[in-house]
């Protein structure tokens, strides 16, 4: 097991180098001069332009800039944003917020998705199953920003149940609504995954055996059916994390959540290369770790995988 973990961690190094290079290249190759954009309609004097380019190393060839950046990272220096704040500080500020948002969202989608999927699967073809199908289809097909705006208007402005946007410090209760919205992306996927998996598991020999031994439904459903149906759901969670990150950019913008997604988007708009690359690097790192954790969980859930190594 330890060797397996180590191998997975070592694999992360080339992945990290590769992604930072690609991201850096993409930011660099983005058309337009971020310095020329700093002046609005005013055309900056050439001497001033030159000074500023030099300051941000924009006068150097791409590869030099990349290695300057990489060297900084090894020294733990992720650079400074245009507004003079160290990127590490921005990271420390925004990641916990997004993490809390993601935890809430995952919690909602797991609870709702698995419960509904399980009931639908057990009562396959019934009214509950049919309505769950319709609801999940709607949620899958409606873009998240539409859901977000409707939720914000109905529950925030009209009914006043939640704050319309997230207040300073992003308290948990303010994050509820954005998390619920964010959860809708994957809730439908999880409920449908669970449903089909439950149906498949229900027809397996061991379930029939359990039933013929005289075990109660109360025992068979959670222990025999649910546990074995969760394997595909858990693997999906790893992919889901990436989906959540994308969704968070939109949701955080609409609910003004001071998290990673919103900050990253603004950094891209302003062409703040170091901020963008550092953020993405950390995201990739987290993505790798989560995938690792999921793979390990997988082994816990299904002993056959553990022993096959």
């Amino acid at each position: 097991m330890a060797g397996y973990i180590l191998r997975r961690l070592l694999q992360a190094i080339p992945v990290l180098l590769g992604t930072t290079f690609l991201i850096y290249f993409m930011v660099f190759a983005m058309p337009g001069d971020p310095i020329a954009g700093l002046f609005g309609e005013k055309t900056p004097p050439p001497a001033l332009l030159e000074q500023l380019r030099e300051r941000y190393h924009l006068d150097q060839p791409f590869i030099v800039q990349y290695f300057l950046f990489l060297g900084g990272i090894f020294r733990g220096d992720f650079g400074v944003s245009f507004s003079g704040q160290p990127v590490t500080e921005i990271l420390a500020q925004t990641f916990p917020v997004t993490l809390r948002l993601a935890i809430l969202a995952v919690f909602f989608e797991l609870v709702a998705g698995i419960t509904i999927g399980l009931i639908a699967g057990i009562r396959k073809g019934g009214i509950f199953d049919a309505s769950a199908l319709v609801i999940s289809l709607i949620l899958i097909s409606v873009p998240i920003f539409v859901i977000a705006f409707v939720a914000q208007y109905v529950f925030g402005v009209e009914l006043g149940w939640f704050r319309t946007t997230v207040g300073a410090g992003a308290p948990w209760k303010d994050l509820l609504m954005p998390a619920l919205v964010l959860a809708t992306i994957s809730f439908a996927q999880i409920s449908r995954l669970t449903r089909s998996s439950v149906i498949e598991t229900s027809s397996q020999d061991f379930v029939r055996t359990a039933a013929s031994k005289g075990l109660s439904r109360r025992r068979i459903v959670p222990v025999h059916i649910l546990r074995n149906s969760l394997i595909p759901v858990v693997t999906y969670l790893a992919v889901d994390f990436g989906v959540l990150m994308v969704g968070a950019t939109v949701t955080e913008g609409i609910f003004n959540v001071p998290g990673v997604g919103r900050t990253l988007y603004q950094a891209i708009l302003r062409g703040e290369g170091p901020t963008v690359v550092s953020f993405v690097t950390i995201m990739v790192l987290i993505y790798i770790v989560i995938n690792l954790v999921v793979d390990l969980l997988y082994a816990v859930l299904d002993p056959r995988i553990r022993y096959a190594k």
């Binding site: 609005g40 900056p44 507004s83 921005i90 705006f149 913008g253 708009l269």
Partner: protein, 539 residues
């Protein structure tokens, strides 16, 4: 010029306009009551792009904060009229040499004195090439300023005594005194020089407000300002402080206003432009602002030089129905332009000779276009470049369609993904089409709309327009002290511009804002920013 940052809203906008959410019923204005002078007012803002140093802040997000925590020599009232703030007097006999006296015994919030040196040092620092401050060009006219080498101390600035300093300019510049209310000219306390970087994160000023302690600037979230008890100028706060919340999108701040989490906003998302005046009734504002919008047609484009170009520009201008576009596309939040400046600036008039070229007249347009064709037949397509990350596509398409219909030529918009991309091609002159342009003045004077944009070789003359007559009139205007005579010169310059049309004036942008029932006395300044100091909370 101060830059307005676009919000995150690219996706959000599309969504919001797709959703037609009914506006809620209009509320009656709150009854007048004695305001609570201790209450904190909340308002919308954006994360400052740069550290909060006046000479390095040239965008709206940071500018809004800087203007609250600093007091300059003068400030502008709601109509843009200059009023002395720190200055006791600003005098000049020749418009080139100024003697500035400041009020005695003023202090920054840390106790440092506000003296002549606090201005001179701050200006010298902001102007020095090595520091590369974004607003350094404001000091261009001062004697000793240079773009070629680093100048630590400009020869044109001299401290006479604690409360007096003199400014010598390179040439007569009558509106120099009017500029002094812009943030680039604010003073800095002596303690700023200990560690200017730390200062940029926790600035110390002398204005109506000050930061609510160290770390009051919570990056990406908000900045908390409280009243500076020592400030005694004309902007004394009638409330207890100001929380400026940073928003990524206009939709979010508008939702907060609707949801009662925010007191005053000065931005309305395009999705709510049609409905906000019904929603907020008396508590909504929609009035012309200092923002002029146009598109520039450089001489260097084929068929746009000389007499032929003049005819074609006039034809294009007359083929555009500005009334219709401002109504249909902008829901009445733009005002059709009748000159190159803005109606809120002193000296503006809608009676310039030749302004009929800005009126919709398709027959005349066709005729002029045909006359130009007689000089050299038109070929190809007329294109207008714009940045797709702003709200421009709709009007560019509308203008293109009107050109197609009324002139019978091919016309279209050329979107670039980002603002900085368009600016790059404009700055290095590689752009080969007409392009969107606009100008928001830094100070409320006619010259600011004309000199930097249409003077030969001027800083922002992106179309490389040059007309000796215009140059002469601008210079004459800057040499005379008499305000009426000055404005007459600038108007005469505009009458030439109306013939040459280096840029096709389109409309003036309005300031769109609204406020909640909890606040009163909301008024928007000449630069579209609410006059926060006079807002009171009814509680």
């Amino acid at each position: 010029m101060r830059i307005k940052r676009i919000g995150v809203a690219a996706v959000a906008l599309a969504a919001a306009s797709a959703l037609t959410l009914a506006g809620c019923s209009s509320d009656s204005p709150a009854p007048s009551a004695g305001g609570d002078t201790g209450a904190i007012i909340t308002t919308n803002g954006t994360e400052p792009q740069n550290p909060l140093i006046p000479t390095n802040t040239n965008e709206v997000g940071g500018g809004k904060i800087i203007d609250q925590i600093f007091a300059g020599l003068i400030y502008y009232d709601a109509d843009g009229k200059p009023i002395n703030d720190v200055a006791e007097s600003i005098e000049s006999e020749d418009n080139q040499h100024f003697t500035i006296k400041i009020k005695p015994d003023l202090e920054f919030t840390n106790g440092d004195p506000v003296d002549a040196a606090s201005f001179v040092d701050a200006w010298n620092y902001g102007a020095a090439l090595d520091n590369a401050h974004l607003s350094s060009y404001f000091f261009e006219d001062i004697e000793g300023f240079s773009w070629d080498e680093n100048v630590e101390e400009m020869s044109g600035l001299e401290v006479v005594d604690d409360t007096t300093f003199t400014v010598a300019l390179k040439q007569p510049t009558a509106d120099f005194a009017l500029r002094l209310g812009y943030s680039a000219f604010y003073p800095l306390p002596a303690s700023a020089w200990d560690d200017i970087e730390a200062f940029g994160q926790n600035p110390i000023g002398n204005g109506p407000y000050m930061l609510d302690g160290e770390g009051a600037w919570k990056h990406n979230e908000k900045i908390s300002l409280v009243v500076n008890p020592d400030y005694d100028g004309g902007r004394k706060a009638a409330n207890g402080g100001l929380d400026i919340i940073f928003y990524a999108s206009q939709e979010a701040s508008y939702s907060d206003l609707e949801g009662g989490n925010l007191d005053v906003v000065d931005e309305i998302p395009s999705s709510a432009v049609e409905s906000y005046e019904d929603t907020f009734g008396e508590r909504a504002v929609n009035q012309a602002s200092a923002l002029f919008q146009s598109f520039t047609v450089p001489d260097r484009l084929a068929h746009f030089a000389g007499e032929e170009g003049k005819l074609r520009r006039a034809a294009i201008s007359m083929a555009i129905d500005r009334e219709e576009i401002t109504e249909v596309i902008f829901g009445g939040t733009r005002t059709p332009a009748s000159d190159f400046t803005s109606p809120i600036i002193a000296g503006w008039t809608d009676e310039l000779e030749g302004e009929e070229v800005l009126e919709f007249n398709p027959e005349e347009a066709k005729k002029l276009w045909a006359e130009a064709d007689a000089i050299s037949p038109w070929e190809g397509s007329f294109q207008i470049a714009y940045n797709a990350d702003g709200d421009h596509q709709d009007w560019v398409d509308a203008v293109s369609n009107q050109l197609k219909n009324n002139l019978g030529i091919e016309a279209s918009g050329v979107p670039s993904p980002t603002f900085k991309e368009v600016r790059e091609t404009i700055t290095n002159r590689t752009i080969q089409t007409a392009f969107r342009s606009g100008w928001q003045a830094d100070y409320p004077g006619l010259f600011n709309y004309l000199g930097p944009l249409y003077g030969t070789n001027a800083g922002s003359n992106d179309g490389d327009y040059s007309n000796p007559e215009v140059d002469k009139l601008l210079k004459e205007g800057q040499s005379t002290s008499d305000a009426d005579e000055q404005n007459a010169k600038f108007q005469a310059a505009q009458e030439i511009l109306l013939k040459d049309l280096p840029a096709i004036p389109l409309w003036y942008q309005n300031v769109n804002g609204a406020w909640s029932e909890q606040v009163e006395n909301v008024e928007y300044g000449w630069n579209s920013v609410p006059l926060y100091f006079q807002v009171t909370k009814a509680e």
